[in-house]
């Protein structure tokens, strides 16, 4: 049976710039996600990022749930800059709105400039049908029946 979860887009402060002098806020598809390792868990904000291949979170969050980050399998990955980044992958559980599932997630020190974890194609988009309604500020996740 599929599970339906509804979230609102979140609004964050944003500094104005030369290109967008009136900008004061940014509306983003950011949701609370609980990372679970055995009996240890931490809830943090993560952005639903269709441009990310995988799910990657800050290494500090992984350490907080008792993971020895660099004992995981490493992956060199690319953002939109030329810089190459490293993540280490571990088997954890992810909880979203009370719905829990297994996820092979990456943890990286190189996300330090990012405010959120990344929910990407494998480990998130492959498990949910996702409807974005920016105008109404709503996000709807429907778990796939075969999970």
């Amino acid at each position: 049976m599929s599970i339906r979860l509804k979230f609102d887009y979140r609004k964050f402060p944003a500094d104005p710039s030369e290109a967008f002098p009136k900008r004061r806020s940014a509306t983003r598809p950011v949701i609370p996600v609980t990372l679970i390792n055995g009996d240890r868990k931490v809830t943090n904000l993560a952005i639903i990022d269709s441009g990310a291949d995988l799910c990657i979170f800050h290494s500090e969050i992984g350490e907080q749930i008792g993971i020895d980050i660099e004992s995981g399998k490493p992956l060199i990955f690319n953002g939109i800059t030329k810089e190459q980044l490293t993540a280490y992958f571990h088997d954890i559980k992810i909880g979203i709105g009370g719905y829990e599932y297994d996820c092979y997630a990456g943890f990286s020190k190189d996300l330090s400039n990012m405010p959120y974890g990344l929910l990407g194609q494998v480990g998130f988009f492959d498990l949910f049908n996702i409807a974005f309604d920016y105008k109404r500020g709503r996000i709807e996740l429907t778990s796939r029946d075969n999970h």
Partner: protein
């Protein structure tokens, strides 16, 4: 629980920090340079299910 999803006022003024928000995201219950200390402050403030996030050095634009 009604969740606050407008974090503009709640997060404004914090830069390059780990922030623990209350479970309804209505207020900051911990601020530190690492999540451990932010969570400890949250628990000291009797918040049992805080939500962690980072604040960037500058509230710029993200293109992911």
């Amino acid at each position: 629980m009604i969740e606050n999803t407008d974090l503009r006022k709640v997060l404004k003024g914090y830069s390059n920090k780990w922030i623990a928000l209350s479970a309804d995201s209505s207020k900051v219950v911990g601020v530190a340079d690492n999540p451990k200390e932010a969570l400890e402050q949250a628990h000291s403030n009797k918040e049992t299910t805080p939500i962690l996030t980072r604040t960037p050095a500058r509230y710029g634009t993200f293109i992911l």
